[in-house]
Assembly symmetry: C2
């Protein structure tokens, strides 16, 4: 936890906040070994970052006080990530990785090789997704919550979402066997498509390419989704 992310309900008065959740109280006590009087990095959700004084650390709450917050959050990546829904445990870690890396727009998509049971996972509950996004922000000292959209049908995605997405930026489909390697250090608005374990099926790739996306690959190695997502984002941006 490199930043304490304050949600509106934490802020009690101008320049004062209270934390009540045991996860963060325990982290302050056990990892930070924090004491009243310590200076901590805080940020308001979707807002600015700065330093606060810990004015109390009790069993059921912590109190923070600050004069002003002036530092903007770190820059976001210019990408909309369209990710075939990974298995629940991998989803949790992947959401944390990509949030820490600065992704702000995420679509979780059904494709042929996504197991249908994954859509029933409790990891897809709004509060669970929120929790993983917060962990990613706390890690990277960021405050801006990503938006996560669930699209449970690939055809519906093609018809209802893809055209407006591709109006925003260049579509890139990461898929083994494509002719071109993943480009490096591009600085343009991108819609990045990453398939499930086992990959997109050919028909899905064809649909994306026909809609104007470009294919690319990360080399001969087959990577787990969570490794591939980080590797692709780091190479592209």
């Amino acid at each position: 936890m490199n930043l304490i992310l304050l949600e509106p309900h934490n802020v009690t008065h101008d320049g004062q906040a209270l934390l009540h959740d045991q996860r963060r109280l325990e982290h302050l006590r056990k990892v930070h070994r924090a004491q009243p009087g310590d200076t901590l990095t805080i940020g308001c959700t979707n807002g600015l970052i700065g330093k606060a004084e810990l004015t109390a650390l009790e069993p059921d709450h912590a109190a923070l006080r600050w004069a002003h917050l002036s530092e903007p959050p770190p820059p976001a990546l210019p990408v909309h990530l369209v990710l075939a829904l990974p298995r629940p445990r991998m989803l949790a870690r992947t959401l944390e990785h990509v949030t820490a890396l600065g992704v702000k727009r995420i679509t979780l998509l059904h494709t042929k090789r996504v197991e249908k049971s994954y859509w029933q996972s409790p990891e897809l509950r709004t509060d669970k997704i929120h929790q993983h996004l917060v962990l990613g922000l706390e890690q990277a000292r960021d405050t801006v919550l990503p938006s996560v959209t669930l699209v449970k049908g690939f055809r519906a995605f093609l018809n209802e979402h893809l055209p407006s997405l591709l109006a925003q930026g260049r579509g890139l489909v990461a898929h083994p066997g494509m002719a071109n390697p993943c480009p490096r250090g591009i600085n343009e608005e991108t819609v990045l498509f990453i398939g499930p374990e086992g990959g997109f099926i050919d028909w899905e790739v064809d649909q994306l390419l026909d809609a104007g996306c470009q294919g690319m690959h990360l080399g001969p190695r087959i990577l787990r989704v969570e490794t591939a997502v980080t590797a692709l984002l780091s190479r592209l941006f």
Copy 2:
């Protein structure tokens, strides 16, 4: 498991092998839903890759037969990774990620901010490390086992290991606040240093820079070690 990695004791005759471990038998049954007669990708440890026929799948063993193996493993990354020992669960996943990405030389190093208790973890047992390396190779369809060296003292590392490492390639220290960003797409022999959670201490960075390493950073975001390792390797190579 995108490749069945055969160790010498699996090979019973020329072109024949037996598997007895329940992990892989279960994976063949439940994930691959394999049947006798199926064709599977196999590779000999540190050797070639090819196709084999599954000739039996019994509760206590699987039998494989092949004519010849001719495909070389995918290229390795030109890097020696020197990683401050991460916490045990992160170590396990990090070993899998970096092995899948093609790292073949790994040094796990003690630094000031590595908790001493991590060195007592069962995850550092040779058999546990081997298991994570094998999972990375199976994932990436590789056969070449990385070497893992444990160095429990930073001063001993500086005196006994660093000079010969830096004779092999360019030293790069990933550390927040360094002047230069991480270079992209370099194709040269590199020794990559990555600190622990909380980072190297200044003295450690100074020692590495004095020895001829160059510092670099990945940007303003603070990443977990496992995310940072993948991001750095993907950007560098």
